[in-house]
Structures are given as C-alpha cells and as structure tokens.
C-alpha cells in the first residue's frame, strides 16, 4: 500500500532563498511522524507546501494514492489534511463547540431562514470530545477562559472533527506546563489509535521521541535523517539537526 502522504523531491524558493531543496517526506496510514530540524531548516515551509499554503517550485505531491495539487489550505482540508497552528487558531470569544464547528457550522431551515443547529452541534461536539477523551470544565465558556492545555485539546478536536486523515501539529506543547504537555502528547497517541496520521513539528526532542513512530530530520532544506523510533536517540537527532555525521 502506498503511504498516505508522499512528497518527492520538493523544491521551494522565496526569491534568492531556497527554503526546501529537493526534500522527500512521507507519512504512512495511522503513523505519527516527528519532523525536527533547526530554525530555517524548512520544516514549516515543507508543511505549508503539503497544506497548499505554498505552491512548490518542483517535485511531486501524492496523497492517498493520487497525485494532487493543493491550490490553497481549503483544498487540502477538503482532502482531509488539517493543520493545528502554533497560535492555535481559536476564536477566543467563542465556546469550544462553536470553535470546533467554526466555518463548518450545521444549519437547518426554519421559516425560510437558515439557522444554526445548536443542539445538533452541541451533541456531535460532545460526542467527538468524548471519543478523544477530552474533558473540559465547561462547554459554555469562551475558550479564553480555558487553560493552555485545554485550549490545545480544543484545537486538536477542531482539527479532527471532520474526517481528518492527517493532522499536522506545529509545536503543540511548546507553551504548556509539564503535566498539560503530557496530556496533549497522550491525545496525539489517541489519534493514532483512531487511524488518524499525524505530523508533529517540535523543538522538544523528548516529546518527539515519546510519541513518534518515525522521525524525519531536515537540515537546510534537505532530508538528512529518517529514523524509525527504535533507531532514534537524542544524540543521533541532535547530531543530524546541527549537521554533524552521526
């Protein structure tokens, strides 16, 4: 079976700067892949090519067995690729359910008007949160009143609520206290149990080692390492990241 995602020889330049210079990257079905590298190694650019935010200058993108071109993040989302942004991308003034459905609200027709189906969204949202075993103190409060870890959970719930096949997470635990970070990592493992693939971009190598099945290392726009979890050690990763032969 082909991997869920296969990126071949991706090139992306910004003016004179070559951010990604012929990188390969793949994610298998139900696999968590850690993506690591120093600042400017091309991690974010590579993922933005995958989500259609950037158009590649060279290379091929395959998703679920087909060659694809994503013109925008709307296209990639339609295919089942979701991104959880570092700044979460939540509307602080809305409650968790409204955030999960933001931009994809359920509606019904009433007296010729299209109104929000709040009861249905509430029910479906609760069911989804339960599936992911996310417990929140209240679903009626705006998310600004939740803790960092709870908000991260809402962001991940939002990303996975609509038949997502791949979730890309950019530093999901970076700003969290230790206990909250652990819960978020647990949530990533739970996604895998539900058959959802994930890419975890992080500088926190211990987190990456904790949850990833495979770890890909980028250095100056090239893939310099692709290690199964069993072969990855902190020393080897650091060596690859800073560019020394391991």
């Amino acid at each position: 079976m082909m991997p869920l995602v296969e990126m071949r020889q991706i090139v992306k330049t910004f003016g004179p700067v070559m951010a990604v210079r012929g990188a390969d990257f793949s994610v298998n079905h139900g696999e968590v892949v850690g993506l690591v590298g120093d600042n400017g190694a091309g991690k974010s650019t590579l993922m933005k090519v995958l989500t259609g935010v950037h158009q590649p200058d060279g290379g091929e993108l395959w998703f679920a067995g087909r060659r694809v071109h994503f013109g925008s993040s709307v296209d990639s989302r339609r295919a089942g690729i979701e991104m959880v942004y570092q700044d979460l991308g939540l509307a602080e003034n809305l409650n968790p359910i409204a955030n999960i459905f933001l931009g994809r609200e359920m509606t019904h027709s009433f007296a010729g008007l299209r109104l929000l189906s709040e009861a249905e969204m509430d029910q479906a949202g609760r069911r989804h949160l339960e599936n992911l075993q996310i417990r929140l103190p209240s679903l009626a409060l705006p998310v600004e009143r939740l803790s960092g870890g709870q908000r991260q959970s809402v962001a991940i719930a939002r990303a996975t609520a609509f038949q997502a096949r791949l979730v890309i997470m950019d530093e999901p635990a970076a700003s969290l206290a230790v206990a909250e970070a652990a819960k978020v990592l647990l949530l990533i493992k739970r996604l895998r149990e539900q058959g959802i693939s994930a890419v975890l971009i992080s500088h926190r190598l211990q987190d990456v080692l904790d949850v990833s099945d495979r770890i890909v290392v980028l250095n100056r726009g090239l893939k310099v390492g692709d290690l199964p979890r069993e072969e990855a050690t902190m020393e080897r990763l650091v060596g690859l990241i800073v560019g020394k032969a391991s």
Binding site: V74, L90, E92, N93, A98, E105, T107, Q133, R135
Partner: protein
C-alpha cells in the same frame, strides 16, 4: 485516562452566574432608574404621554446604535452614522417634495444609507485604508456636506402621512378595553429591528462568523471565513440602519433639516458601550445595546423632568460611559482572579 480532570462544577457555575449578573445588571439599572424617576416625579414620569415620548425619542438613537453595534462586534467603528442619518432625512424630504410616492422616498433613503455603508466597507477592504476610523471619518464629512448641498442648508418641512406614521404614529394593541396598549410605531420598528439583528447575530452562520472575526481575525481566516465579505456586510447594515433612523426622525419632526444627526454617532457609540459591547470586538449582544439606548433615553428624560440643564446632561452621560466600562473592567478582573 483523561486529558483534563473535570474541575468541580461549582466554579464554572459561579462564573456563569457572574456573566448572567453582568447581563442582568443592565436590566436592573433600567428598573432602578424607572423606580427612582417614579418616586421623584410621580405626576410626570410614569404617565402614558411621557413613556410614549421616551419611546419615540430613543427610537432614532436605538436604531443607529444597533447598526453601530454590528460594526463594533468586528472591532470596527462607524463614525458616519450621524451624517448618514441626516442625509437620509433630507433625501426623504426632498424626494417627497419632488412629488415621489412615499414608498419610493423611503426606499431612496434606505438605498442612500446602505450605499454609504457599502462604500465604507469597500474602502476598508478594497482600498485597504488602515482603520475604519479613517474611511468613516471621510464619509462623515462627505455625507454631511452632501446633505447641506442637496438642501441648500435650509429645512424642508411638511411630509406625507405615510412617512409621519413611521415616526410619529401610534398603534393600539389589545383592543379598546382595560388591556389597551398604545405603542409608538417607531418603537415597534425598533423592537422588530432589534429582534431581527439578534436573530442574525446569534442564530445564523454569518452572525457567528462576525463574532469570530471580532474575537480573533486569524482564527476566522484559518477557518476559511471570508473576512472581507463579512466586513462589507456589517458596514452596509450600519448604513442601512442609519437610513432607517433618518426616516424615523423625519417622520417624528415632519421635516428634513440639514443639521440633523450632527454628533449622533457619539450617542450611538455611547449606547453600544453602555450596553456592554467591547471596542476590542467579539463581545456584546443586541439586548445589551437595546438596554444601553433605553438607559440613555431615561437619563435624558429624567434630567429634563428635573430641569437639569442639557450641559449637565452631557457631563452625566460622559460619567455613565466611564462607569459602565469601569464596572465591566472590574467584572472581568474578578473573573480572571477566579481563574
């Protein structure tokens, strides 16, 4: 295993009740003001004539505030509504005097208001003017200038019964018996518009998106919400409301005069702020703004009844704005301390 420990239920319930108190607070203020005025002015305040008068007088400001509210939810501001109200009023009067049927005169006023609002929205999103303050400050001047140019600077009096009906008419509800209630038509229009906007903002996708844009423009963008389209819409709604306010005022005073609505944008903004909407966007409700407009009307009426000069009234309105926002600041701080 759990991602989050469920916290004890008392805390969220306590916080919810703080929110509820905040919302009910405005209603309590209205009740308190009415009680005090009834005690101070028992023979003047609680009469049918006076209450009808208040309802009629607050109508224009309430409608302006409603449009302003929708803009403020997006963290924007519309400074042009007072001038647009004046322009709408002159357009009604002039088209009637040109022999137009009332219906067309009203439509023309509505179209002019909506048109200026659309222009504001497009100036913000297409011309990329840095802040809605700029675009609407420009249209404040353009609309006011146009009002003077069209009218030649003189009032135009004597309108048709249809237009007068909207601003000064009354309807009798519940028959002629003991339950008979007389309602100013303009106030019924106000309530209908507030219900519509409440429904729109709280129960439709577009309303939800407007709140999201005000709360977090980035999140709205990530969610695939067309921010520019929604911004153009809210400014058009604000312009249309200013058009309606101009019609109601024209009907009430049976004329159009070119200075009408000068500075009215500030009263509208005051009602929105007293009503609990946040200038940072994403917060507030049509119900709160309605109560904000009522509070301002009661204050003006009460002070008039007690022969307090309009200069002092203005000072007091300023103090109430300070007080309303400060109470909100305190409430938010209390909630944060709770967390």
């Amino acid at each position: 295993m759990q991602i989050e420990q469920a916290t004890p239920t008392e805390r969220p319930r306590l916080r919810l009740s703080a929110d509820l108190l905040g919302r009910m607070g405005l209603g309590l203020v209205v009740l308190l003001m009415m009680t005090v005025l009834t005690i101070l002015q028992p023979q003047y305040f609680p009469t049918r004539e006076n209450l009808t008068n208040i309802a009629r007088q607050v109508s224009s400001n309430a409608v302006l505030a409603l449009g302003e509210f929708v803009v403020v939810v997006t963290a924007g501001i519309d400074l042009s509504v007072g001038s647009v109200m004046g322009l709408s009023m002159i357009v009604v009067a002039m088209s009637l005097h040109a022999g137009w049927m009332s219906g067309f005169a009203l439509l023309a006023a509505l179209a002019v208001g909506t048109g200026v609002g659309l222009f504001n929205g497009l100036a913000l999103t297409k011309l990329h003017l840095p802040h809605p303050f700029i675009a609407t400050l420009a249209t404040l001047n353009i609309a006011r200038g146009a009002t003077y140019l069209l009218s030649g600077g003189v009032p135009i009096s004597g309108l048709t019964p249809t237009v007068r009906f909207f601003g000064a008419g009354e309807v009798h509800l519940f028959g002629e018996g003991a339950l008979a209630l007389t309602f100013p038509v303009s106030f019924l229009i106000v309530m209908a518009l507030y219900s519509l906007v409440w429904l729109f903002m709280s129960k439709t996708r577009t309303g939800r998106h407007i709140y999201a844009i005000g709360g977090s423009p980035k999140a709205a963008q990530y969610a695939g919400i067309n921010t520019n389209r929604n911004l153009v819409l809210v400014y058009a709604v604000s312009g249309a409301m200013a058009g309606v306010a101009g019609i109601l005022l024209a009907g009430r005073v049976n004329s159009g005069y070119p200075t009408a609505g000068t500075g009215a944008e500030l009263d509208a903004i005051a009602a929105v702020i007293i009503g609990g909407a946040s200038f940072f966007g994403g917060r507030g409700s049509a119900v709160g703004v309605f109560l904000g407009a009522i509070i301002m009307g009661l204050l003006r009426n009460g002070l008039n009844l007690m022969n307090v000069s309009v200069f002092w009234q203005q000072v007091l309105i300023g103090l109430i704005i300070l007080l309303a926002v400060y109470v909100d600041v305190l409430r938010r701080r209390a909630m944060r301390l709770e967390d």
